[in-house]
């Protein structure tokens, strides 16, 4: 593209850069971040993103509560996290600076929209009277680039015929154009995006494109800014990539599992942050036979999915912690009836309503134990945005092939985060085989709904099938017949059978592997879920520094892979970092009598790789 060609003379090369865009939740921060992500991924960088928005939809403008952020980390090396501290902080107003300055590295760059630092904005951000943060002495630690984005946006659009309000809506494009200039990126992708998005309002599309270019030219022509950076494409595994967010990957994984099992996905759900996007995404794919049902509450959501599973469909429900708590009784019913059910929990900070838009891994014990009675359930957790696809596909396979409800754990961090995805071919995905019972004649022996195969799995007898009429429910089942039974010996036997069935799944999942580092030695970091990127980055760096440390990451949290106990014994110490107050560690200690060391962070924020590195160094 012509603009970029003219200006390819870039002095500095960087391996990786982290940018944090911050502004009012109405400033179009998420869109700006997503556009930069797409463009930089298309360019060939590896990239990881983390949007961070307020719980309120439109908190009062200019206030700290209303600050929305989008952090992205891109590089010519492999990128596993959205970055610890940022190199560049883009702030549209005073509140955005106040809320995010501590995220900026010493020596980092601040790009500030000066019109967001007027008297009104300073007051809204609760700066003391007369204090101008852009002139504060502590800012001398950083490189400050001041641009009056609002004024320049308006000037660029002086002949557009648009009103001031409409003009101001384009100011995020000025910033985006400027950042594209800084990192020598093409505008093509965003121009195409704007053209498509405002198909019916070509005047708005033109205005946005004009402002985008104005931002780019401003960088090019203004002599104030001399520092530009080149981040070369990353050496990634060969193949065709796309960018994907965690919740989107979860939805696609469920569609794929439906296709590969020949079952019709039925998704019963009640809107809740941060799980709702799965419902939005799935509802777009009705042409795959996907049925979505927005139920009247969380309980109806799970019960409708159970009804669908009873009917021979792939029953799925999703929520976050508070909603999962409401579903508990019904999930127990699915345990008792031994029907397939996928329960998605996109975890967030708790307890109670907690921190709806912040991340946490604090529902592991809820997934393991959050039901009355002895109600064992398999648990599968995703480690990154794109891994949600594989992990939920796997959760579905276990649910269907082992006739059991299964928990799939994601969290706000990976659900909203994105990364490039080397997406699979449909033909490479495994087939999922449902243990469907065949029709019977009068001459056949009577159907026994609770007879089991070698996996201890019962058959799925779907209404409409001749000769299989049977009744199931929440009361204890008699072995084989499924009739109600209060017999003491039978109850104990059934409790043990249900547990043995779930434990046997360990024979049908891969052995636990070491992700990185030595196969035995001083220290193993045992992680699960979304801490993967931070641990991966920390271990990579530590190994480069010749610090001997290994990393294993659990996908299967119940049952554990069969070799896990043996694997843990190969290390002198086991460190378990978690975004909770120590949950996996309880289970590991309980199951393996390993004196593991916990490392908790419960701030509603993911780990930084640096935190893991420091903890490891302190241990060795």
């Amino acid at each position: 593209m012509e603009l970029a060609d003219k200006t390819t003379d870039v002095g500095n090369t960087k391996k990786e850069v982290t940018i944090l865009f911050a502004g009012d939740s109405g400033d179009g921060i998420q869109l700006t971040g997503n556009q930069f992500t797409d463009t930089t991924a298309l360019y060939g960088n590896d990239v990881s993103t983390f949007p961070n928005f307020p719980a309120e939809i439109r908190a009062p403008q200019g206030t700290l509560a209303g600050v929305s952020g989008f952090q992205l980390h891109f590089g010519s090396i492999e990128i596993y996290t959205p970055g610890d501290e940022c190199d560049v902080l883009v702030v549209m107003n005073a509140a955005a600076l106040k809320a995010n300055l501590r995220q900026l590295k010493t020596g980092g760059t601040i790009i500030a929209n000066t019109s967001g630092f007027d008297k009104r904005n300073l007051k809204l951000a609760k700066y003391p009277d007369g204090e101008q943060p852009l002139e504060a002495p502590e800012l001398s630690k950083y490189k400050l680039i001041e641009i009056d984005v609002t004024k320049m946006t308006r000037e660029a659009l002086v002949d557009s015929g648009l009103g001031t309000k409409e003009k101001d809506r384009s100011k995020n494009m000025f910033v985006l154009g400027f950042i594209y200039w800084m990192y020598n990126r093409s505008l093509d992708n965003t121009i195409q995006f704007l053209t498509d998005k405002f198909k019916s309002r070509s005047d708005i599309a033109e205005a946005n494109i004009k402002v985008l270019k104005a931002g780019f030219y401003f960088g090019d022509t203004s002599e104030t800014f001399t520092t530009r950076y080149e981040v070369k494409p990353a050496k990634m595994k060969k193949g065709v990539y796309r960018n994907i967010m965690g919740n989107q990957a979860t939805a696609l994984g469920l569609v794929a599992a439906g296709q590969k099992s020949g079952l019709e996905p039925f998704y019963g759900s009640y809107p809740i942050t941060p799980a709702s996007d799965i419902l939005h995404e799935l509802s777009k794919h009705k042409n795959f036979g996907v049925k979505t049902f927005q139920a009247e509450d969380e309980i109806a959501a799970v019960c409708s999915a159970i009804g669908a599973s009873f009917g021979g469909a792939l029953g799925i429900t999703a929520s976050s912690g508070p909603g999962i708590a409401l579903k508990g009784e019904a999930i127990g019913l699915a345990v008792m009836m031994e029907l397939p059910l996928v329960v998605v929990n996109v975890q967030r900070g708790g307890p109670s309503t907690g921190l709806p838009t912040k991340t946490e891994q604090s529902d592991l014990l809820q997934a393991l134990y959050g039901r009355n009675g002895e109600a064992p359930m398999p648990i599968v957790a995703a480690k990154s945005p794109s891994d949600c696809f594989d992990a939920v596909f796997e959760a579905t396979r276990i649910a269907v092939e082992h006739m059991t409800p299964v928990f799939f754990l994601s969290d706000g961090y990976i659900a909203n985060g994105s990364e490039p995805w080397l997406f699979p071919k449909a033909s490479s995905l495994n087939t999922i085989t449902a243990p469907l019972a065949k029709p019977r004649d009068e001459e056949d022996a009577p159907f026994l709904p609770y007879a089991r195969n070698e996996k201890l799995v019962r058959q799925w007898a779907v209404p409409g099938t001749t000769g299989l009429q049977h009744r199931i429910g929440g009361l204890e089942k008699e072995d084989l017949t499924g009739n109600v039974s209060y017999n003491p010996e039978n109850h104990e036997k059934m409790v043990q059978l249900r547990e043995a069935k779930v434990n046997k799944i360990a024979n049908f999942i891969p052995a636990q592997a070491i992700d990185n580092g030595p196969e035995q030695g001083q220290l193993l970091i045992l992680g699960w879920g979304s801490t993967y990127g931070a641990i991966k980055t920390a271990v990579r760096d530590l190994l480069e520094e010749d610090v001997e440390v290994a990393h294993a990451h659990l996908r299967y949290l119940h049952p554990f892979p069969a070799n896990l106990g043996e694997l843990l014994q190969r290390y002198d110490k086991v460190l378990i970092p978690e975004i909770n107050n120590g949950q996996l560690i309880k289970v590991i200690r309980d199951e393996f009598l390993v004196d593991a060391i916990g490392f908790s962070k419960v701030k509603g924020l993911p780990f930084m790789a640096e935190e893991i590195k420091n903890r490891v160094k302190a241990l060795l």
Binding site: P233, A256, F288, E296, I299, A426, G464, R471, N483
Partner: protein, 339 residues
């Protein structure tokens, strides 16, 4: 479909029926088993789903597919089942506690969505399974184990609630009138959409006689009004009483005394406003001037049901976008290649 020749016995299971001797549930079970052969349905195409309570044991006694689920949630379970299997004949068995207390929310949403489900609401105005606490339909002042000084809860009027939720089929029957109950069960089955049949059911252990004014020979005719579409509202021991409308106010008149059946309110099942008025015939029969309690089909309306609309959306999506291509979906719209 192959011709099916079944009898009531074919619908019985090998399970011992465990209701208390003399319970009204026996009559309802018998009538359901007796009308099913007339529907021509195969046993494997019928599903009974219940919640929790005495009535909810029902599925165990039906040789069909069945589920005895959890308290109050049957409406949500049948919704999911119908959403994926619209061809099945689905019956939901529930009681006044299950349906109107713990399951009240699901119940109203089932009605507004109008899934094609037959709901049999066994109303005995008491909690039987937990041994005798008042229920959301128990009359105010009811003395029970949990209300030794009398209940201060104002009771639900289940059919008025169902009208408010825009139910499309609203009817009432009683356990002690098997012939009428059978007729109503057939109508319930025939209606496409959520059919609500409230059945007054005597709990002879914890609330014996709650409906005797309506069900016993001595008082039945004077206290009940059997609705028939197109027929005037006539009741009374000698069919000597009628209901006419004075504006929006129903008035009981004596026939022959200056009033003939021509003056009376003629029942029209399709009239939503009048059906609403009929559900308000809810007086305590012991009160002087009480309106008679109606039985029969109050209201029936054809309205699209959720599952068919859902299937239509799937079909439209397939027509508009073509059957799902998984590779195209995984690829998305914006890809790049690393070489």
């Amino acid at each position: 479909m192959a011709e099916v020749n079944l009898t009531g016995k074919d619908f019985a299971t090998d399970q011992d029926v465990r209701w208390c001797p003399g319970c009204g549930d026996y009559s309802i079970l018998k009538q359901v088993q007796s009308i099913l052969p007339e529907t021509g349905l195969r046993r494997e195409d019928i599903v009974f789903i219940s919640g929790i309570g005495c009535s909810s044991r029902f599925p165990y006694y039906m040789n069909t597919y069945g589920m005895h689920s959890i308290h109050g949630r049957a409406p949500a379970i049948v919704s999911g089942l119908k959403a994926v299997r619209n061809e099945l004949s689905v019956w939901m068995i529930t009681g006044d506690g299950d349906c109107l207390s713990i399951g009240g929310n699901h119940f109203i949403h089932l009605l507004r969505r109008n899934f094609d489900v037959n709901v049999l609401l066994f109303n005995n105005e008491i909690y039987g399974l937990t041994k005798g606490q008042y229920s959301p339909t128990s009359p105010q002042g009811k003395v029970t184990k949990s209300t030794p000084l009398g209940s201060i809860d104002h009771p639900f009027n289940p059919l008025a609630l169902a009208m408010g939720a825009n139910g499309t089929f609203i009817a009432r029957a009683m356990d002690r009138d098997p012939k009428h109950l059978r007729e109503l069960l057939k109508r319930t089955h025939e209606h496409k959409g959520t059919s609500l049949l409230e059945i007054y059911q005597n709990c002879n252990v914890f609330n014996d006689g709650a409906f005797f004014p309506f069900t016993e020979k001595t008082s039945k005719k004077g206290n009940t009004l059997f609705l028939e579409h197109g027929q005037p509202l006539v009741f009374g021991d000698e069919a000597n009483l009628g209901v006419k409308l004075d504006g929006f106010t129903p008035v009981v008149v004596e026939l022959g005394e200056g009033h003939s059946t021509d003056d009376l309110w003629v029942h029209d099942e399709t009239d939503r406003v009048k059906a609403g008025l009929l559900t308000q015939f809810f007086d305590d029969p012991r009160h002087v001037g009480a309106l008679p309690r109606p039985f029969g089909v109050f209201y029936a309306e054809e309205r699209f049901n959720y599952e068919d609309a859902l299937i239509a959306q799937v079909e439209e999506a397939v027509e508009a976008k073509g059957a799902g291509d998984l590779d195209a979906l995984l690829r998305g719209s914006n890809v790049w290649e690393i070489e």
